[in-house]
């Protein structure tokens, strides 16, 4: 079975851990628990009939207290950028992290998840900005760890892209 490391990157409290929890354990907690360092989880997926074990590195959220250690990215086949739809600045953090990741990993597959789709009425992120990123080739999905909307698809899509590169 193929094993692939992927990283969850994003500002703090955007829902990285919640997305992983929803993906791995199918649970969601309203309580926010910050992550220190790295949390590692595993999940096996079937992509085009092929089993693939995803080693998910849930890396702490970037802010003034914790900056991303580039060594955590080493060996990652792809990454998921997470932004909080209700906080405009988290998209800017995601864009900056994407740049850092590309510097260390080169052009590997990634997906931008705009989380908290269940709070779309409170969204601050401008759709035009997202449309601009799409135009640059970014794969963008709107998801919700709370409702589970789009979560499986995010990981599956990234896994597909990673495996496509192996062929």
């Amino acid at each position: 079975m193929v094993q692939k490391k992927i990283c969850m990157l994003g500002a703090f409290a955007v829902g990285k851990t919640s997305l992983v929890e929803r993906f791995v354990n199918r649970v969601f907690s309203e309580k926010y628990l910050t992550t220190i360092g790295v949390k590692i989880d595993k999940k096996t997926l079937s992509v085009d009939g092929k089993e693939v074990s995803l080693l998910v590195w849930d890396i702490y959220g970037e802010d003034e207290f914790q900056k991303l250690r580039a060594s955590y990215l080493r060996g990652s086949s792809g990454y998921i950028l997470v932004a909080d739809g209700t906080r405009r600045l988290t998209l800017e953090t995601a864009m900056a992290l994407s740049k850092t990741a590309e510097e260390h990993l080169g052009k590997v597959p990634f997906v931008l998840v705009v989380n908290k789709a269940d709070l779309s009425a409170e969204w601050e992120i401008d759709e035009n900005v997202l449309a601009g990123l799409s135009a640059r080739g970014w794969l963008i999905t709107r998801g919700s760890a709370k409702t589970g909307q789009g979560v499986e698809e995010i990981f599956l899509t990234l896994a597909e892209r990673i495996l496509e590169l192996d062929r």
């Binding site: 910050t34 360092g37 790295v38 590692i40 060594s71």
Partner: protein
């Protein structure tokens, strides 16, 4: 003495590692292999099959995937000449029960041994976590508050935009309304002034805003006090007040001001200015047109009278004024006098009726002491008093014939002869006579000298009876009411519509004099500010005509017939009886006068 060195016993290291929750692994020469140094803490057993920790070789990267890439960095660190401890940073793994456990690895080199220490993080980590958790929650809360503030700010901005739009709309409406408006704050300073108001005041808003209204609006002292009184009054007690506004450039406006409270703050006032200048000018011009000296009326008949008065005032001839009693003949005489070149000299009015010839002769021409019994001293007559001026001889038709002869001599010779004197005295007097009689008839009856008649009626003015100029009645009423108010009597302002109708329809046999008397009667009986029908004199109220005088005196046939019909309430038989003619004659007369024969 030997230094007190701590010697580690065989069990001491495992106890220490257990107490610190640290596992120490030593890098073996074989790649990827480590051996566990001393007895490790028990928790490490959870990560091995069946909880058995191998004594020989272990591969930590297979236990902890996190270490897979850290060992790459650690190898670099160990191979350095001056290796320094390299920390992995914390990571979290779940044990076999799913409980999260937190670790941190450190690569160190000591005495040529390459060691990897894996520490299970405990309370310090949890404290650190709690601090970071709190800091981030605060940061999130702050962010939410910022969003809330931004949303509130946006909402306020929207409301402000909406409010400004409404304000602009209202301003446009105000400016379109063409009503000059200004507002003052609690200190009486102008806080808003409409474009119309700026134009009226003759000042741009820069000169007006923030300035006291008293400096902006130039009124007379008493007017300013009146406006101040209105500002301080309660809304119910306020009324629109007329003022005379002086503006730069010497111009002025007749205005009326309504003072209102700002509904949101009664301390702030709104001033609605109504520019009445045009109306005032029109009213003044109408009044000027409606009044000629003390004469009131704008009917065609009166306009003809005014024209005739103006004409005869230019010449110095005698004038005969005809007209029913009470039509204002003396006023005409005065108007002629005061319009003539004699206006600065005496005007003497004499009533010729009811006096004996000697008494009237004495009064007119004077007498010498002893001329008759009781003439104790010399007396100057009215003609001498009126020298260089005008004498008005009212009711000249009643003048005794002997006096008529004397008067004729005065007119012919321009001199008078006092009773008892033989030497005439020169006088320069203009004679204006008046009568309500038909002097031609009086001449025919031998009561009036024809030569005198020809002499006095060089110029003639006939005054129309009031019933022939009913349109002047409202003007006359207004004039009499204002006279009443001016003399400090009751403040009666106007006449009700119904009362006015009665007054206009009444035939007024006593003419203007009777109207004036009726107004005085009504004012006395009027309890309020408006004269009602019930306040009118009984002769005007009584529909039976019991108080009305005989209609036979009415010279105009159509007028007489119409009054008879009115008094008879349209009953032709009764009207014929009032007129003293047969019903058939009445019908013929109605047809000839163009009056409908049916009621």
């Amino acid at each position: 003495m030997q230094p007190n060195r701590l010697l580690m016993s065989e069990n001491m290291l495992p106890d220490l590692l257990s107490a610190l929750d640290i596992v120490i692994l030593e890098r073996l020469e074989e790649e990827d292999s480590f051996r566990i140094v001393a007895t490790p803490p028990q928790w490490i057993g959870q990560f091995f099959p069946e909880g058995t920790v191998p004594e020989t070789r272990v591969q930590p990267a297979s236990i902890f995937p996190f270490l897979q890439h850290f060992l790459f960095d650690a190898d670099h660190s160990w191979s350095r000449k001056d290796p320094r401890p390299l920390r992995s940073g914390p990571w979290t793994e779940h044990d076999s029960t799913g409980t999260p456990l937190h670790f941190e690895a450190t690569a160190v080199t000591t005495h040529g041994h390459r060691l990897l220490m894996i520490e299970k993080l405990g309370e310090e980590y949890l404290e650190w976590h709690a601090i970071l958790q709190q800091a981030r929650e605060r940061s999130l809360q702050h962010g939410r508050e910022l969003v809330g503030h931004r949303q509130f700010q946006a909402k306020l901005g929207g409301m402000l935009d909406e409010s400004e739009k409404t304000r602009d709309d209202l301003l446009s409406i105000l400016n379109q309304l063409r009503v000059p408006i200004f507002m003052t704050d609690a200190q009486g300073c102008v806080s808003f002034v409409s474009q119309q108001c700026q134009q009226l005041l003759g000042r741009p808003q820069e000169q007006v805003l923030g300035t006291s209204w008293e400096q902006v609006c130039h009124f007379r002292k008493e007017e300013k006090a009146l406006l101040q009184q209105m500002i301080l009054a309660t809304p119910d007690d306020r009324e629109r007040i007329p003022l005379h506004l002086q503006v730069p450039g010497g111009k002025s406006h007749w205005i009326e001001i309504d003072v209102k409270d700002d509904p949101r703050d009664p301390e702030r006032k709104m001033f609605f200015i109504h520019d009445m200048t045009e109306i005032y000018d029109l009213r003044r011009s109408l009044k000027e047109k409606a009044k000629f000296h003390d004469l009131t009326g704008k009917s065609k008949a009166m306009e003809m009278v005014y024209t005739r008065v103006s004409q005869v005032a230019l010449v110095d001839t005698t004038v005969l004024i005809g007209g029913e009693t009470g039509t204002g003949k003396e006023l005409i005489a005065k108007a002629i006098h005061f319009s003539s070149s004699r206006k600065n000299n005496p005007f003497v009015a004499v009533n010729c009726a009811g006096l004996t010839d000697s008494l009237l002769g004495s009064q007119l021409f004077g007498h010498k002491r002893g001329a008759f019994t009781g003439a104790t001293e010399d007396h100057r007559g009215f003609f001498e008093t009126a020298n260089e001026g005008t004498i008005f001889l009212d009711e000249i038709g009643d003048m005794p014939l002997t006096v008529q002869a004397s008067l004729l001599r005065v007119l012919q010779e321009k001199e008078i002869l006092r009773l008892g004197e033989s030497k005439p005295r020169k006088v320069n007097v203009r004679v204006i006579a008046a009568t309500n009689k038909d002097l031609n008839e009086e001449v025919a009856r031998g009561n009036f000298r024809a030569d005198l008649l020809y002499r006095i009626r060089v110029a003639r003015i006939d005054l129309p009876p009031l019933r022939e100029r009913r349109e002047d009645i409202p003007l006359l009423l207004e004039s009499f009411l204002s006279q009443t108010r001016a003399t400090g009597g009751k403040q009666v302002q106007e006449v009700s519509a119904e009362a006015m109708q009665r007054l206009v329809r009444y035939p007024w046999p006593g003419n203007v004099r009777e109207l004036k008397s009726a107004v005085e009667f009504s004012v006395i009986h009027c309890p309020g500010a408006v004269i009602q029908v019930t306040d009118l004199p009984p002769e005007i109220l009584d529909p039976t005509g019991a108080y009305l005088p005989d209609i036979s005196f009415i010279s105009d046939q159509k007028e007489r017939v119409l009054i008879a019909l009115e008094r008879a309430q349209g009953n032709r038989v009764a009207a014929a009886r009032l007129l003293g003619i047969s019903r058939a004659t009445l019908y013929r007369r109605l047809a000839s006068l163009g009056i409908p024969t049916e009621s």
